[in-house]
Amino acid sequence: MIHPFHSISAGHLLLTLTLLGGGPPSADTTNAAPSGPVPPPAAVGEWVPGEEEAHALPWDRRSVEHVWNRAGFGIRAEDVDAWVEAGPRALVDHLVRPRPSAGEGARVPYRYDPLPYTAAEYSRSAGDEKRELRKQRNRWFKDQFAAFREDWVEGMVAGEDPLRDRMTLMWHGVFTSSLETVKRPSLIIQQHQTIRSRALGSYSELLHEMLQDPALLVYLDNDDNRKGRPNENLAREVMELFSLGEGNYGEVDISEAARSLTGAGVASALDVATYRFNPKRHDDDAKTILGVRGSHGPADLADILLGQPACASYIARTVIEYLEGVPAGDERVEEYAARLRETGYDVGYLVERLLLDPRFYRDEVIGARIASPIDFLVGSAIRLEAKLPARFIVEAAADLGQDLFQPPNVKGWDEGLAWITTSTFMMRGNIAGAIVGAVDIETLRADATDMMEMSGAMDEMGPMTGKQKRRAEGQQIKRYEVAGLASILRQAKYEPSSMEARAVRDAGASSDREVVELLTERLLAIEPPEEALQMLELQLREIREKYEIEAADLPRFRRKNQRALHDFSHLVLSLPEAQLH
């Protein structure tokens, strides 16, 4: 069996997808001591949170896949049964307390490499030399940021610590910062590491640390917030988006909070920065924030916010709605908010309880969440066993509206149906086509030619040589959104996975219906409805006829079959059913 906790080395550009996460527990790891920031599970006989609920859960393939979809980024169909067997408690333990990967090839968190020259060298330089150093810096930033984002996405696909990745992604949508504003990737990377280390820990500590986080302070202009000349940006967003939610504070609270945040800025050295509190810029006079009077500073503000009843409710609602994908009722939110308050804002505990809560498995929730671009792409890579370049996933997610570390605004990403427009819907299908090899640069070239003929551009340009024609087409192709992604795959010499043909061969599936059932199970994160299966059965027959393949020959592992099944996968992954998880 594949070792599920094995890992790939950092900086490896291609995803090594034989090493998939989501695998069931194997004999040699179940006894390994858990580690990480979360305390080890209680000894046998002691009360374990959620133990009694675990017995009441409807536990089947659907539940297992549901947990992996929401608490991770998906699971291969063939790994599901082992988790059905292992039971909910084992799966939740595995997610909340993953085994460490140790030894050779263990993933290490991405580290920023500082610029190869010093601030002093930079300020001494002049003219051409300075320009050269600046150019070098821009290249450096671009490369580091790309490598960092790709490293994270590789981690998601490898599935080593899926719940932590999931919650880290959620928090990046709460405590937002954007490289576009912050400019220096080292700050974003530093913020990511803080969020990651606290993603399943204490929200209270996370809030305190975020108020000292260089990226956030720069992103929300607090570096310019000083006594006598307050800047309200951070003060407003910390209340509205990071802790209380709109309606739970007044305008005066914001201006007073802004005064408490004066002086909280950063000390910069070329490409890196650290938190610096400047007492000279701080307004030490008395302020009243949410009814609490004192000469508050940033830490006092965090404590005042944490003491507000609205704070725990806001965080509980954020977590529940993010993972369930449907609105949470007030009563339920209050039940979880109470747990947060009792535990001093322990988010790991909250998530653990949620995953063992039968309401997490209700019919309104399962299969009803719109997969975000990252969910769709990482999930498809996992299910298809596609060795996609991480860069492809990062860029495709950005094209679909989820540009990691560059959210559209301070509110982060809107989840749910907001991801889906007529345009992103078709784009998802085109990206799926690129992943399975059904859409490539040649597909676009053919379409570009059609478009040019349709527009009469060909006639206007007069007779063209082959070279001129290709150049004109090239210009046209650049306007296709999916073209950049297709080029990434071409440059990486990407080969689509043959998972489908292997699965059909191994199952000996020799009727359209069998193949449809087999492959929809492999490709989709949800159970498809019967009407979709019937439709796909007809479509598969048409595809077969196009490639002149008899039903009896479906299990043959040959080029023609692979291509036909890739066309079929392209269609399946373009359907409404593939946008849910």
């Binding site: 202009d221 310019d224 917030n225 000083r226 000349r229 800047n231 309200e232 940006n233 407003r236 709109e246 305008e251 914001i254 209700r362 019919d363 309104e364 399962i366 299969g367 009803a368 719109i370 509206g401 559209p408 509110k411 809107d414 907001a418 889906i420 427009t421 007529t422 345009s423 819907f425 078709m426 299908g429 085109n430 086509g433 059904a438 597909t443 676009l444 379409d447 478009m451 349709m454 527009s455 306007r479 296709y480 959104e481 999916v482 073209a483 159970e527 409805p529 009407e531 979709a532 019937q534 439709m535 007809l538 479509q539 048409e542 066309d567 392209h570 269609l571 373009s574 409404p576 849910l580």
Partner: protein, 421 residues
């Protein structure tokens, strides 16, 4: 979709209704088959088509500083409150002794002189909110309660005016995600990044089968899948809309020719695509584009001037392009933002979130000039400009003036009309 389609189209989901209508139209007895609600004809006086008007919404996201857009250069208070962010009086494109336009808006100055630019000053709403998101909800829905009140105002306009002839590209947003104003459960808008790539590359007949037509293959109604099936219903309608609008929009963009040179900005790329669709008379009636970068908390002067330059040059090219055709001359442009900014500058040579700001209404059908009243720089509402005109008056004017619809039906209340159409 979950229910067996009954012979009452109003109870059906839009896509089902569409196929129902197709089926009804195909049958000889089609007209007799239609219930009264559908057969009664258009509810708006002006029918879509060559004589119809189009509306283009230009959203300036982040909170555009109204006082640096329409600049009260004749007010000494401005210089007292704004030491580093104020323009020299000599830089301002003066409209009169009191106010003038930002130097970047040269093209709009020309339109003002030609009587094609209506400037509505001091637009806002009571109990203004300084949150970007909550304030946009108010602007997008026309309701103080925001999204809780339901669909966006353009979505409700579409449901009021074009429910009888649903087509997905009645309302089109260029440049990614559509703003909430266009949101409608019944008539969702088309939103796209670039028209060229706006298609699905594969066997389109097979793709079509994944939409609402899939119901023809028989339905499963298992209560275990209620959540999934609700979501699928929406997604299948999106697939239908995508497929139906793709050919039309791509065709219009591919065949579009213009002599006008647009600036190389994202805003202008979107405006050029709008011009292509307007001139193709593709049946789209409300267009939307959005630009961002207006949230100028620090070092506002340079950043905001650059935005104004992009806006002025982009709109200049766009309006010139629209001048060339009748459909273009029937088009009206509305420029707005979620709020203005604080009168006094903050400690970072920027301005924090404020309240009232100006709106622009542009086009050949517009009666140019100044509307509303410029807010006082001394009698402030908690440090902000107090609004003098409810922005919904502008919406109401356009709803009635361009589309012949009842503004109260769309906005849920009556607002005084402005004589600008």
């Amino acid at each position: 979709m979950l229910g067996v389609p009954e012979a009452h189209p109003m109870n059906l989901h839009k896509s089902d209704r569409r196929s129902f209508l197709r089926a009804a139209a195909a049958s000889a007895a089609g007209a007799a088959f239609l219930p009264q609600a559908l057969a009664s004809g258009a509810r708006c006086q002006l029918l879509p088509g060559e004589t119809g008007k189009n509306l283009v919404l230009v959203q300036l996201s982040g909170g555009n500083d109204g006082l640096a857009t329409v600049i009260p250069h004749g007010d000494d208070e401005l210089r007292r409150r704004r030491r580093t962010t104020v323009h020299k009086a000599s830089e301002v494109l003066k409209l009169d002794d009191y106010r003038g336009l930002n130097p970047g808006l040269r093209s709009l100055r020309g339109r003002f002189d030609e009587g094609q630019l209506a400037i509505v000053e001091g637009c806002g709403y009571p109990d203004a909110i300084r949150s970007h998101f909550k304030s946009y909800e108010v602007w997008h829905t026309g309701h103080r309660a925001g999204r809780i009140s339901g669909d966006g105002w353009v979505g409700r306009l579409a449901a009021t005016c074009w429910a009888d002839e649903p087509r997905p590209d009645r309302v089109v947003h260029f440049g990614g995600k559509a703003p909430y104003s266009l949101f409608s459960r019944e008539q969702p808008p088309v939103a796209l990044a670039s028209p060229t790539g706006y298609r699905w590359f594969g066997d389109e007949d097979a793709y079509a089968q994944g939409g609402a037509a899939i119901c023809e293959h028989g339905m499963e109604r298992d209560p275990r899948h209620v959540g999934r099936d609700d979501a699928l219903q929406r997604l299948r309608a999106t697939l239908d809309d995508a497929r139906e609008s793709s050919g039309r929009i791509r065709g219009a963009a591919a065949t579009y020719r213009t002599e006008v040179e647009y600036p190389k900005t994202r805003l202008s790329a979107g405006l050029r695509d709008v011009a292509a669709l307007v001139n193709a008379r593709s049946g789209t009636q409300v267009f939307s584009v959005a630009d961002r970068g207006y949230d100028t908390h620090s070092r506002q002067r340079q950043a905001h001037d650059r935005k104004m330059q992009d806006l002025g040059d982009g709109l200049g090219a766009f309006l010139e392009d629209l001048d060339r055709s009748e459909a273009g001359r029937n088009t009206v442009v509305l420029v707005f933002s979620e709020f203005g900014r604080r009168v006094a500058e903050n400690g970072s040579s920027g301005h924090d979130h404020g309240k009232a700001g100006p709106m622009f209404v542009l086009g050949h059908s517009v009666k140019g000039g100044l509307y509303g009243a410029h807010p006082s720089l001394t009698q402030l509402d908690a440090g902000d400009l107090a609004f003098t005109t409810d922005f919904r008056s502008v919406y109401a004017t356009l709803i009635g003036g361009l589309f012949g619809a009842d503004p109260a039906q769309v906005l849920g209340a009556d607002y005084p009309l402005l004589p600008l159409i």
